[in-house]
């Protein structure tokens, strides 16, 4: 998922935010590189300030980037998953954006710290003999690691990459080595994307991945009506702003123990209840293993794990307290 739309997207749109609330910081990472990769697109390279491994991810995953302003945006990881020490994201300058992308472009610089939540994957690459990838503008970001993965797997793949004009299309240099597999289609040179001829006949051994603005996804839906229902996989952008990070402390009431503890912004719920003498079993402390699962009796959790899907998050009856927090002032947990 990517910041505020592609070149073809309506201005000021942001990706769908699953569940409620935005990220609290799971990790503080350092900007170790910032480079312009196309007109209005910068790529950020992030690393742990102490050089530690970052949480593992799979192609299609995104992270929450928490800017010093408190703004939270979701960006697809577009680096190399085999490199355990850096993340890369690419940020498009939003024309009428609320400042998140402007901040990244104009103010953020190498050496600065940012908060990062996740990674989480709602757009996984499923096994297939053949892949067709369709990217619109900055929608190339989640597809870039997928292309790398298809190569590693020896799968047959092609990429159709549309943008307004060549200079605005990020990562053309990195894609160049794939030669004929990549069809670069700047609108000012080649006109609108010809989806039907790129897709060809429906094929049960092919999966179709598309990331881009709403109109492109709609067009893909139409173009794939004759395909098997599970063939087309898309990452959807909607006009929704991520809520700012809750920077205030919140209270957690432990129903069984009868105690109430205050969780400060820099502390996890796990640590806070532990300090109050209630040990909860944990393992990964990254929101991936599921060990610290805790039943929620009241209140709205701000889910930060990579385990629950959107429906499970919405149910709000359990949470992983090593990373997840409260969206409001108070949570009641079955502890």
């Amino acid at each position: 998922m990517s910041d505020a739309g592609t070149l073809l997207a309506p201005p000021g749109t942001a990706p769908a935010v699953p569940g409620r609330g935005a990220s609290t910081t799971v990790a503080t990472l350092e900007v170790v590189g910032k480079a312009t990769v196309a007109e209005d697109v910068v790529a950020l390279t992030l690393a742990d300030p102490d050089g530690r491994r970052l949480p593992d991810w799979t192609p299609g995953a995104h992270i929450d980037l928490v800017l010093p302003s408190g703004d939270t945006r979701q960006y697809s990881l577009c680096g190399d998953r085999f490199d355990p020490r850096t993340y890369r994201v690419a940020v498009l300058r939003e024309r009428d954006g609320r400042g998140g992308s402007a901040y990244v472009h104009d103010t953020l610089r190498a050496g600065d710290r940012v908060g990062v939540g996740g990674p989480r994957n709602n757009f996984p690459l499923v096994p297939s003999e053949r892949y067709l990838f369709v990217a619109g503008g900055i929608g190339i970001t989640p597809l870039l690691p997928m292309v790398a993965q298809a190569e590693v797997l020896g799968a047959d793949w092609r990429l159709l990459y549309g943008g307004r004009r060549r200079a605005s299309m990020a990562f053309l240099d990195e894609l160049a080595r794939h030669g004929e597999r990549v069809h670069v289609m700047p609108q000012d040179e080649t006109g609108l994307l010809d989806l039907p001829s790129f897709l060809g006949e429906p094929d049960p051994a092919t999966k179709v991945y598309c990331c881009g603005p709403g109109p492109l996804l709609d067009a893909m839906g139409v173009a794939c009506t004759a395909w098997p229902p599970t063939a087309l996989r898309t990452e959807r952008f909607v006009a929704e702003q991520a809520a700012p990070v809750r920077s205030a402390p919140f209270e957690v009431e432990l129903a069984r123990t009868g105690a109430t503890v205050t969780v400060e912004p820099g502390t996890s719920v796990l640590e806070a209840v532990g300090a109050a003498g209630v040990e909860v079993l944990s393992s990964c402390r990254q929101g991936t293993c599921g060990t610290c699962e805790t039943t929620v009796l009241a209140g709205v959790p701000d889910h930060r794990d990579s385990i629950l899907d959107d429906a499970e998050r919405a149910a709000g009856d359990c949470m992983f307290i090593c990373v997840s927090r409260a969206a409001d002032d108070r949570l009641v947990l079955d502890l």
Partner: protein, 401 residues
């Protein structure tokens, strides 16, 4: 197998971790390996051993350098043919590991397990009532084998017939991670028959319409894995999900029977059941060891492990490393066992750990409700397996509450 002389400064030992003496009591060997250094050369198999917590955990997490795709046993799939089609999870690296892992994490995820809670609690109570009637009995067949066999195959959705094959199949699979010794050879005559039975249970039309098996097939329908992968993902449950929990339950039961003060603590505070089980998994480490293969020359603790060489990670030794754990040999419910590597760590960390914890939690809760005391009623015996730390027999007497 390639053989290169170990670097001169590398500590080395002739000890055989798969010999019966070591399987009967591995603790002295684990201590020796931990003390010898961060990396130790095992002459007998010409492999590298890690036995300290920091190194074991780092290797478990570092899938880039320490590969599972060449097998997590002694046999190196780069050079040797596996005895069965390799696991799509345990014996796979990213990117191939991704999709099967994602599917199984979902199928065995929090939602799925919430649905089983009440049923398993009732099953545990019924079983505890049955064994209370016996008074004195061997806890291995009647409790720690009986409970997983009662609940898990039903949860997967396999038919009744042939379930007695599950334990021998799992036992052989875990022996086969070790060398071709007497234990592995003892399983050989039945390999074909047991493998065929297990494979047959993984077929869609054999599995019940509801259960983990059907859920896996439903994910194949959604295109999350291929129909060719589905049976092997089901097989992972049948291989990795039975013997492990049997020995995990034996571990916690033995620990509580021999630590009456901890049993009292648990009875007074039944919410400690989760801690009790994980502390037993740390203390006993039902899965003792797994191998990795170096994907390049990897530097560990001042030694370079050459590309393609096998590394034996002693999870059990890491779980009692005094560098990480205070008073590590003590089974102690006041300890926070979080961070133990008994379920592994990183991308291969046990995907069934919540199933194991739910089984254990159900059984321990039923025991704390119905039983005042658990006492050993005779000499215990170990069951030897190349990978698992297991009990053959735990005679007990349950005193009703």
């Amino acid at each position: 197998m390639t053989s290169t002389a170990a670097p001169a400064h590398l500590p080395t030992t002739a000890a055989d971790p798969f010999a019966h003496e070591a399987l009967e009591d591995p603790l002295p060997l684990h201590r020796e390996l931990r003390e010898a250094g961060p990396v130790v050369h095992l002459e007998r198999y010409d492999v590298f051993a890690l036995a300290r917590y920091a190194e074991v955990r780092a290797a478990l997490v570092d899938w880039q350098d320490f590969s599972s795709g060449a097998g997590v046993g002694l046999s190196n799939f780069r050079y040797e043919k596996p005895w069965r089609p390799p696991s799509l999870l345990l014996e796979a690296d990213p990117p191939r590991h991704d999709a099967p892992r994602r599917v199984l994490s979902k199928v065995l995820g929090p939602r799925a397990l919430h649905r089983l809670r009440e049923r398993w609690a009732a099953d545990a109570e019924a079983l505890v009532d049955e064994v209370l009637d016996r008074g004195e009995f061997d806890a291995v067949p009647h409790l720690t084998e009986a409970f997983p066999l009662r609940v898990f195959p039903d949860a997967v959705g396999i038919p009744q017939e042939g379930r007695e094959n599950l334990l021998p199949y799992g036992n052989h699979a875990f022996n086969a991670f070790g060398p071709d010794n007497d234990l592995t050879r003892a399983g050989a005559p039945r390999v074909a028959e047991l493998s065929a039975w297990v494979a047959a249970q993984c077929a869609r039309d054999v599995l019940a319409p509801e259960g983990f098996g059907a859920d896996i097939w439903a994910q194949a329908d959604r295109g999350e894995i291929t129909p060719e992968q589905a049976p092997l993902v089901v097989r992972s449950l049948l291989t990795a999900g039975v013997d492990t929990t049997v020995h995990g339950l034996s571990a916690v039961l033995y620990a509580l029977a021999t630590h009456p003060a901890e049993w009292e603590r648990l009875r007074a505070q039944p919410a400690l059941a989760r801690v009790a089980f994980d502390e037993a998994v740390r203390w006993e480490s039902p899965v003792q060891t797994f191998f990795r293969t170096a994907t390049r020359d990897v530097a560990v603790g001042g030694t370079v492990i050459p590309d393609g060489r096998k590394i034996l990670m002693f999870l059990a030794a890491a779980n009692r490393d005094p560098r990480r754990w205070a008073d590590p040999d003590r089974f102690d419910l006041t300890r926070d066992p979080s961070g133990h590597v008994g379920f592994g760590f990183g991308i291969h960390q046990c995907v069934g750990q919540h199933v194991a914890r739910l089984e254990a939690g159900s059984l321990l809760t039923a025991l704390t409700r119905r039983v005042a005391r658990i006492e050993l009623a005779g000499p215990t015996t170990r069951h030897h397996n190349n990978t698992l730390r297991a009990w053959g027999s735990i005679p007990v007497r349950l005193v009703p509450a």
